[in-house]
């Protein structure tokens, strides 16, 4: 018997997983208890697009857990 080979999932599979996460996030922010936060989705969308285009930002600081 050979041990299974562990490989990261393929790109389409990863993209599918990300899409599911995005859908869940939208569902989360559109929940009636958080309806007032729905406009923030626009902010998130803009930030997401920018991040995707620019490749991200690395930052480490002591109080990140309070803010980030």
């Amino acid at each position: 018997m050979t041990a299974p080979i562990h490989k990261p999932p393929s790109l389409p599979r990863r993209l599918r997983a990300r899409a599911k996460t995005v859908l869940k996030l939208i569902g989360y922010f559109l929940h009636p208890a958080r309806f007032v936060l729905a406009p923030m989705l626009i902010v998130l969308l803009l930030a997401g697009i920018l991040l995707w285009l620019t490749g991200g930002l690395a930052y480490v600081a002591p109080f990140v857990y309070a803010l980030f």
């Binding site: 007032v36 406009p39 923030m40 902010v43 803009l46 930030a47 920018l50 991040l51 285009l53 620019t54 490749g55 991200g56 930002l57």
Partner: protein, 231 residues
């Protein structure tokens, strides 16, 4: 790459070392680099399958830790003499290069780095000697003894692991290409980060009305909050 680093070191010497505050920051950066390298070597020691190479990596890591301390000590003194802001602690990150590159390319990377550092430090040494800066000259001269040994043993191990000089050279070329790519990405990220921050600040300004909404809908409430049903 090594030639470029040497030339840069030669041209920038007067700018880097003339002012103690500047020099302190440079030496502090060296201390951080040595500390980061120490971490990579220690991790390599625990990941390699060969006890012999593990031993060599541990010795190397120990040298790097000592160098980090030596650079940090001198940096602190220079910062004090310049009444500069205290330098931060010597806590470095680690790139996990052994896992990322594999042992052969890791060795090629370490060898390249050591050879480059030697060439760069040689330039510094000449500059300090010419200006009679004895403490700095001794610091670099002492560290260079180890760097020479590091460059030699990593070359030896690289050829041994590669099985032939030709394969070792291939690994060195591969790593040089990888480093070039890394530099390109870093430069790209440097620019991209600034573009991102600027654009996000515009988004932030546009989101100002949301702030009012949040303050009304989600005020800060001190004291106990009792859980909602199902929480």
């Amino acid at each position: 790459m090594t030639r470029l680093t040497t030339l840069l070191a030669r041209w920038l010497n007067p700018v880097v070392w003339r002012w103690p505050g500047h020099a302190a920051r440079k030496l502090h950066a060296f201390a951080l680099a040595e500390q980061g390298s120490m971490l990579d070597m220690r991790i390599a020691a625990s990941l390699t399958g060969s006890p012999r190479r593990a031993a060599a990596y541990l010795r190397h890591a120990d040298d790097e830790a000592r160098h980090a301390q030596m650079f940090a000590r001198r940096a602190r003194k220079l910062a004090e003499s310049a009444h500069a802001r205290p330098l931060g602690p010597i806590t470095a990150d680690c790139e996990q290069l052994f896992a990322a590159l594999g042992e052969l390319d890791f060795l090629a990377f370490v060898h390249t780095g050591e050879a480059r550092a030697l060439a760069q430090f040689d330039e510094y040494l000449a500059w300090f000697t010419a200006r009679g800066r004895e403490q700095d000259r001794v610091l670099f001269a002492t560290i260079m003894i180890d760097e020479r040994r590091h460059a030699a043993y990593t070359r030896e191990l690289l050829v041994e692991l590669a099985g032939s000089e030709a394969v070792a050279t291939q690994a060195l070329r591969r790593v040089a290409r990888w480093e070039l790519g890394r530099r390109w990405l870093r430069a790209g990220r440097f620019v991209a980060e600034r573009v991102y921050v600027l654009t996000m600040l515009i988004v932030y300004a546009l989101a100002a009305p949301l702030s009012l909404l949040i303050r009304v809908a989600r005020p800060i409430t001190p004291g106990w909050r009792t859980p909602a049903a199902g929480e």
